[in-house]
């Protein structure tokens, strides 16, 4: 599976064909975020953050009523931080954040989001669920955790992660034309997790859990 060069990524960003166009918008500094000779583009920290309010709940359990979207939302306290303001992530703290950029992948591209090494060296882990499926549309949710020893002040607009793109091919070796329309996070712009398992998995596991209670 080959990765797209920065030049190929920029070509996809400018594609006149909506079906094949890659959208990463707004790219506030194209030259700085998509450096020639590399194979990625940098993305920035957005304005929305979700802090976990662990003390207000028991354990997160799929089968104790916490998997309903309304209840999952109760796990988080939302913060909007505009340009020029900041938020501190303390050692060992976990929070959700979003990329500033809105992303839409065409049917034949998938991506990986990876933290920038500079942040990694400071102890900041940026993303754990790194795969982005073809057809994804929305701002990317980043799972931030400070593994370092010092608090880190985060400013919306800082370049925090990078995206690597790969072409997806079908069984005949041609660029895929079928995006995953029904996956959980297509077309969403919200950070809060929606469900832990597919409907089938949830139903089967629930029956097994009930049987053993």
């Amino acid at each position: 599976m080959s990765a797209l060069s920065t030049e190929a990524i920029v070509n996809r960003l400018n594609s006149p064909d909506l079906e094949t166009r890659l959208v990463v918008s707004p790219l506030l500094d194209v030259a700085g975020q998509a450096k020639p000779g590399q194979s990625s583009i940098d993305v920035r920290l957005g304005f929305d953050f979700c802090l976990v309010t662990a003390s207000s709940i028991g354990a997160i359990s799929e089968f104790d009523g916490l998997t309903q979207p309304r209840l999952l939302k109760e796990l988080y306290r939302r913060h909007y931080v505009p340009f020029g303001r900041s938020l501190v992530i303390h050692p060992h703290q976990f929070m959700l954040a979003q990329t500033l950029e809105y992303l839409r992948l065409p049917a034949d591209l998938m991506a990986y989001v990876v933290g920038r090494s500079t942040w990694g060296r400071l102890g900041l882990i940026v993303a754990t669920a790194v795969g982005i499926h073809p057809g994804f549309a929305g701002s990317l949710t980043l799972e931030l955790r400070n593994l370092g020893e010092a608090p880190i002040t985060l400013y919306p607009g800082q370049t925090i992660a990078q995206l690597f793109f790969h072409q997806v091919i079908d069984q005949n070796g041609n660029p895929s034309k079928t995006a995953a329309k029904n996956t959980q996070y297509v077309g969403t712009v919200d950070m809060v997790p929606q469900r832990l398992s597919s409907e089938l998995t949830h139903n089967v596991l629930e029956k097994l859990v009930r049987k053993h209670r």
């Binding site: 909506l18 079906e19 707004p26 790219l27 506030l28 304005f47 500033l100 809105y102 712009v189």
Partner: protein, 167 residues
């Protein structure tokens, strides 16, 4: 709106706007609170409204354009916006920005709102209501998605605008 013929506010155009009462009725009503002279002046002014409207409208438009050309949203601009943003919006690309002479510019709030309205009307045309084929929940979900995309466009076009201002 620039280039638009003025349409009088009559019942068939805006059914919630009541017709102007007869002169005598109006005079009696105004006299109760403002006295005879003011009531007489107001009643006589009504005949001048049609003649004055284009002048007042033109002066207001020129004033707004003088403050900022972007404040006046023209039919021509609507056509351009729809051509530029409607199809992408249907493909889940919010109207955040557009390219102008090689540079990216933020879309205006008026553009986002108007393209949003057109997209919504379009959606209603496609799914006029709940049917056996298209359940109400599906239409509601599409409308919710449109709403979220437009909110994202407002947030990120503002981010682009702030960035350009402070570059």
């Amino acid at each position: 709106m620039q280039g638009c013929a003025l349409t009088p506010l009559v019942t068939d155009y805006a059914p919630n706007v009541p017709n102007c009462p007869a002169k005598d009725t109006l005079f009696s009503e105004i006299r109760k609170s403002h006295g005879e002279i003011q009531a007489a002046i107001c009643v006589e002014l009504i005949e001048l409204f049609d003649a004055m409207a284009p002048t007042v409208f033109s002066a207001a438009r020129d004033y707004l354009k003088g403050l900022s050309p972007d404040l006046v949203y023209t039919p021509a601009q609507l056509s351009t916006d729809v051509q530029l943003h409607l199809k992408p919006l249907r493909k889940l690309i919010p109207p955040i920005e557009f390219q102008h002479t090689g540079n990216w510019k933020p879309t205006s709030l008026a553009t986002i709102l108007n393209v949003g309205w057109i997209a919504l009307l379009d959606l209603r045309d496609e799914d006029p209501g709940a049917t056996a084929v298209v359940p109400a929940s599906e239409t509601a979900a599409k409308m919710e998605q449109l709403h979220e995309l437009l909110l994202k466009a407002v947030e990120l076009s503002e981010a682009r605008r702030l960035w350009e201002e402070h570059k």
